[in-house]
């Protein structure tokens, strides 16, 4: 399996580590109620089909990627930087 990192191009799976669904990007506000936090922390769908998930290019550019992967076929159709260059300064 390979992922096309927007910074580095197509790279081998072993350069990446996985962290679950991309819903982790949507951090609730500090004053959100505990039910929202519970949802954010623990509740995940288990879709059969395309889903967005987070991968860390730790052995490459250290970017976090949002990757669209089909859980049925393992086909990776797209990958985006969690923090595009335009969005911040690193």
């Amino acid at each position: 399996m390979r992922i096309t990192c927007p910074n580095c191009g197509q790279r081998d799976l072993r350069e990446f580590t996985y962290m679950g669904h991309a819903v982790a990007l949507n951090r609730p506000a500090a004053d959100a109620d505990l039910a929202q936090w519970d949802d954010y922390l623990h509740n995940r769908d288990n879709p059969a089909g395309p889903t967005d998930e987070l991968w860390y290019h730790g052995a490459g550019c250290t970017a976090w990627l949002k990757v669209r992967r089909d859980t049925v076929t393992h086909v990776i159709s797209d990958a985006w930087l969690v923090m595009p260059p335009s969005k911040g300064v690193k």
Binding site: M1, R2, M19, A63, K87
Partner: protein, 974 residues
């Protein structure tokens, strides 16, 4: 059996210690056949004598052991192993000898050894399972054995990339590879065999009115000359995986005399944009009584041994077929002077033109004789009449199974084709993989060549390559094959073998069905059909046809078992190449590593790092003596420890402080420049991730330290928080762990040592506890931090890593002059436990800030990672297991022990907590420890029971403040 044509110079090898002659180009199988060696193995369960059955990699019988001593390789297929001078081969699964095997008694006991025998018989008593039954069964039923010694042989892993991977080099594969070569694509042509050409080099076939081998040679020459083509003979593609990745095993040194520097095998990962499966087809046998005798072979194998190896496998050969392909074997053997009888199960069959031998249509072979080698076969004619006829070799052809295994590796199911009586791959089973030739049910050479060309052109077109006009394919003789007659088994009373390797017979399959294992997957597991190293390549389809028959279903309804990687056996040594010994994991060494080892320090692993355990001195006979002495250095004089392995993250930018406020529970934006603060870091779920000190080196410049164990995890976490939640911040950070060598200088004389080293006063006014700043050591710009992990007056001095080794030596010398010296991890651990400082033994992933008594560090003024979750009610209850100190009142504490109320039973329901770290404290002369105890902070002074069921510890301990020594912390301050 005899050699009728020489194929190369003589090569001598040994078989069961006997010296034999083969020829260059022989496999072990062809050489054994040429030497008249009929029995080459004993079967798995019944220990029946067995001979060579096939010519290629699907061989079920002829598994042998190659080599001896540590390097012996068991279960090598004699049909794959090439011979070389000095090759040492031995038969397996026999005692005392291949000719006389005591356990052949199993064959007489066969009525009791049917499918499911073990499950039904060896049930009671349970205590016999591991001690008696398993060792006995393993000895009785078996194949080759490993040496049990360390194998120093060399194996490798490698990676390859291509536009077009062609799997198999028969007519379809060669035609496909030629298209790729001419289109300028990067092509890999992988072939399991030592020689490329597939059936073209095994048949007496014509291409362009000349020997097919001439065309093969020309094609290979063109491919070899193309810079964009890689030819990989002796390379079996073993698996198809996601994203166009294929596994392959290459025999690099297995066919040569042992050369230590040459890898035995290389495991390849091939990344291919497109692939063509041109793996051909595997001929299937027919089941009838005693069809497993030495001398019974596949009909096509007889032809291959004849043409490729110059070996006639028999003098009186019977060919039993249900299709036209075996006619070629009959004709060719006859042409070589062998007496051939051709038995065709089809009633309307007609003798092939020019065949002079006996031809019988509408008949079947129904039994055989000859325990140590075939002597006669029994024929049953169409009218029911039977006769015995002499034969030393029987060639079987029950049709062909396309070799489609790789296409099924990603869950795809092949489809049954009624016309061909075979399973065929369906498009799209593996993305990017297409099929050509016999692997796709196209059996004649012209169709193979055309399919190879067409499918390759389609794949190359998909890749956007511009293709030259298709070249003319070689001319093939006209061939019109008549339809085959499906024939899986011949009725009879005696055992008829399906899976030769696992000794599964038609009776076993019928028994499985009777016992309601009617699903093909259940039948497989109950009978072990297809579960041997050959994975049932010859037998799976036959077995499910028999199952379909006894269950009254069609083959399509019965379905096929799942094919999984690897396609051929892959040695674990190749899969794990490079990963044994020092290659198992990367090793990280500090700048003081050589000096520590020179002082005799045993090194222990800390993550990937190696750190000194202790520094033994003359006269010390136990590590505790060294450890206690080193603790004394720090408590009474000065000790030196390398702390470079702690993670160091350099954080800069106008928002550096705000970023730290967000990742730590406490405030860092308010930290003055030149000061250090202890920080607690949570995961978003409210549990502790890591802790450490962070120094403010400038207004926009911080240096964070992490624990050694969590350095990588923290870096990944910071990257996530920054990129996912703090994109607007102006902050940047990078790991500088390797850039700096850092040493702890701890003890009452630490300041004195540093004054001497730096020439500076370093007094409490300028350098108070938790101060930091630059410091010059001559021309070297270092950093000094006044922090302590021992509770004593302590500094940590950092210099660029290239000065680390020199600084360590100097610090050790100076410490010795002051009555101290270096201390290792054991002493470091004792010192921190005496002070109640936590490590990942305590913050093991299930504890909160509340649990470790740091709830006061959870800021109320700001948001931070883990804040919301840490405030959940359940995480703030006194009944939780809370950090406490423990002091043994009798005996020694042990980490991992469980805690119980004194007087209660040591059972799970009464569990009150556990111990995480223990030490003998020379300072207090006591066995002390840290642990977690329910409502522990309210139980100071209570005596509790410490019980470790595993290691037999049952003592009492007093609950106390986790800070055992100097609870006010005055010693670290001025």
């Amino acid at each position: 059996m005899m050699r009728i044509r020489d194929i190369g110079p003589a090569v001598s090898f040994t078989w069961d210690g006997k010296r034999l002659q083969g020829q260059v180009g022989d496999t072990l199988a062809s050489a054994l056949l040429a030497n008249g060696q009929r029995v080459v193995a004993r079967s798995f369960k019944y220990h029946r004598p067995r001979g060579i059955f096939t010519v290629g990699s699907a061989e079920p019988n002829a598994l042998v052991t190659i080599g001896s001593g540590a390097a012996q390789d068991p279960n090598i297929r004699a049909t794959v192993q090439e011979i070389y001078p000095g090759l040492e081969a031995r038969s397996q699964n026999r005692w005392p000898s291949l000719g006389f095997d005591i356990l052949a008694i199993n064959d007489l006991a066969s009525p009791f050894l049917s499918a499911g025998f073990y499950y039904k018989t060896f049930m009671w008593p349970r205590s016999f399972w591991e001690k008696l039954y398993e060792p006995f069964i393993r000895r009785a039923a078996g194949i080759g054995a490993l040496s049990g010694q360390h194998n120093a042989d060399h194996y490798e892993k490698a990676f390859a990339f291509c536009d077009l991977l062609v799997i198999g080099s028969g007519p379809a594969g060669l035609a496909a590879a030629l298209e790729g070569a001419r289109a300028g694509a990067r092509v890999i042509l992988a072939e399991d065999d030592a020689r490329m050409g597939g059936r073209l080099i095994c048949d007496n076939a014509l291409l362009n009115d000349a020997a097919a081998g001439d065309w093969v040679d020309a094609a290979l020459a063109e491919l070899a000359a193309a810079p964009n083509v890689t030819l990989m003979p002796r390379t079996a593609v073993t698996g198809a995986y996601d994203g166009g990745t294929f596994g392959a095993i290459e025999r690099v040194g297995l066919h040569l005399p042992h050369q230590p520097e040459l890898p035995r095998e290389t495991f390849w990962r091939i990344s291919a944009r497109r692939a063509i499966l041109a793996t051909g087809a595997i001929e299937r046998p027919i089941a009838f009584a005693n069809n497993d005798r030495p001398g019974v072979m596949m009909a096509s194998a007889l032809r291959s041994y004849l043409h490729r190896y110059g070996v006639a496998a028999g003098q009186q050969v019977v060919i039993f077929t249900n299709n036209d392909d075996a006619y070629a074997s009959a004709r060719d053997l006859e042409g070589a002077g062998v007496q051939v009888t051709l038995v065709d199960a089809r009633a309307d069959a007609v003798a092939p033109a020019g065949f002079a031998g006996r031809f019988i249509a509408g008949a079947q072979v129904c039994d055989t004789r000859g325990r140590m080698g075939l002597r006669a076969v029994q024929l049953r004619h169409g009218d029911g009449r039977t006769e015995w006829t002499r034969a030393d070799c029987l060639g079987l052809s029950g049709g062909w199974n396309p070799s489609l295994h790789l296409a099924c590796h990603m869950n795809g199911k092949p489809q049954w084709d009624e016309g061909l009586s075979a399973f065929l791959p369906v498009p799209g089973m593996v993305p990017g993989l297409d099929y050509a030739g016999a692997a796709n049910g196209q059996y004649d050479t012209a169709a193979c060549l055309a399919a190879g060309q067409t499918r390759a052109r389609a794949a190359l077109g998909d890749l956007g390559l511009s293709l030259p006009a298709a070249a003319d394919l070689p001319k093939t003789p006209q061939a019109a094959a008549r339809p085959m007659l499906p024939l899986w088994q011949v009725p009879g009373k005696s055992r008829a073998w399906l899976d030769f390797q696992n000794d599964v017979t038609t009776k076993d399959v019928a028994l499985a069905a009777r016992e309601n294992y009617t699903s093909v997957e259940h039948m497989k597991r109950y009978t072990t059909q297809g579960m041997a190293p050959d994975q049932g390549k010859n037998s799976n389809v036959n077995a499910l046809a028999v199952l379909a028959d006894v269950t009254g279903r069609s083959i399509a309804q019965t379905g096929i078992t799942t094919y999984r990687p690897p396609f051929v056996p892959v040695s674990l040594a190749a899969l794990g190449a490079g990963a044994q010994g020092a290659g198992f994991a990367p090793q990280r060494f500090t700048t003081s590593d050589a000096a520590s080892r020179a002082m005799g320090a045993p090194m222990i692993e800390a993550g990937l790092w190696y750190r000194p355990s202790y520094f033994p001195q003359a006269g010390e006979t136990h590590w505790r003596q060294s450890c206690d002495r080193e603790v004394g250095y720090v408590r009474n004089a000065v000790g030196i420890a390398d702390v470079s392995t702690l993670g160091k993250i350099d954080i800069q930018g106008p928002d550096a402080g705000a970023f730290l406020d967000f990742v730590y529970t406490n405030m860092f934006s308010t930290l003055p420049v030149g000061r250090v603060r202890y920080g607690l870091m949570l995961r978003e779920d409210g549990h502790v991730m890591d802790d450490g000190t962070t120094a403010r080196l400038g207004p926009d410049h911080y240096l964070m330290t992490t624990t050694t164990a969590a350095a990588a995890q923290v870096m990944k976490h910071l990257d996530f928080v920054r990129q996912a939640h703090c994109a607007q911040m102006q902050v940047a950070f990078t790991s500088v762990t390797e850039e700096w060598a850092q040493f702890a200088i701890a003890g009452p004389k630490a300041r004195g040592l540093l004054q001497q080293l730096t020439g500076q006063a370093l007094d409490g006014a300028d350098w108070p506890f938790m101060a930091c700043g630059p410091i010059a050591l001559g021309d070297v710009q270092g950093r000094l931090f006044r922090i302590s992990f021992s509770g004593e007056m302590g500094f940590e001095l950092a210099v660029p890593a290239r000065f680390g080794a020199a600084l360590f030596d100097r610090l050790c010398d100076m410490a010795r002059d002051l009555g101290g010296g270096p201390y290792g991890m054991e002493a470091l651990n004792v010192l921190r436990i005496e002070k109640g400082f936590i490590t990942h033994a305590e913050i093991h992933g299930r504890v909160t800030g509340f649990d470790i008594g740091m709830q006061g560090m959870l800021s109320r003024k700001k948001d931070f990672i883990g804040k919301a979750a840490a405030s959940r009610p359940g995480l703030l209850e006194d009944g939780r297991e809370l950090l406490v100190g423990l002091r043994a009142t009798n005996g020694s504490l042990i980490a991992g022990a469980r805690l119980f109320t004194q007087g209660s039973d040591a059972v799970r329901t009464a569990d009150q907590g556990y111990i995480t770290s223990v030490a003998y404290s020379p300072t207090l002369d006591a066995s002390i420890g840290l642990g977690f105890l329910r409502n522990g902070r309210a139980r100071m002074g209570e005596v509790i029971r410490v019980k470790d069921h595993l290691r037999g510890v049952d003592i009492l301990a007093e609950v106390c403040n986790p800070v055992f020594f100097d609870p006010e912390g005055g010693r670290a301050r001025d």
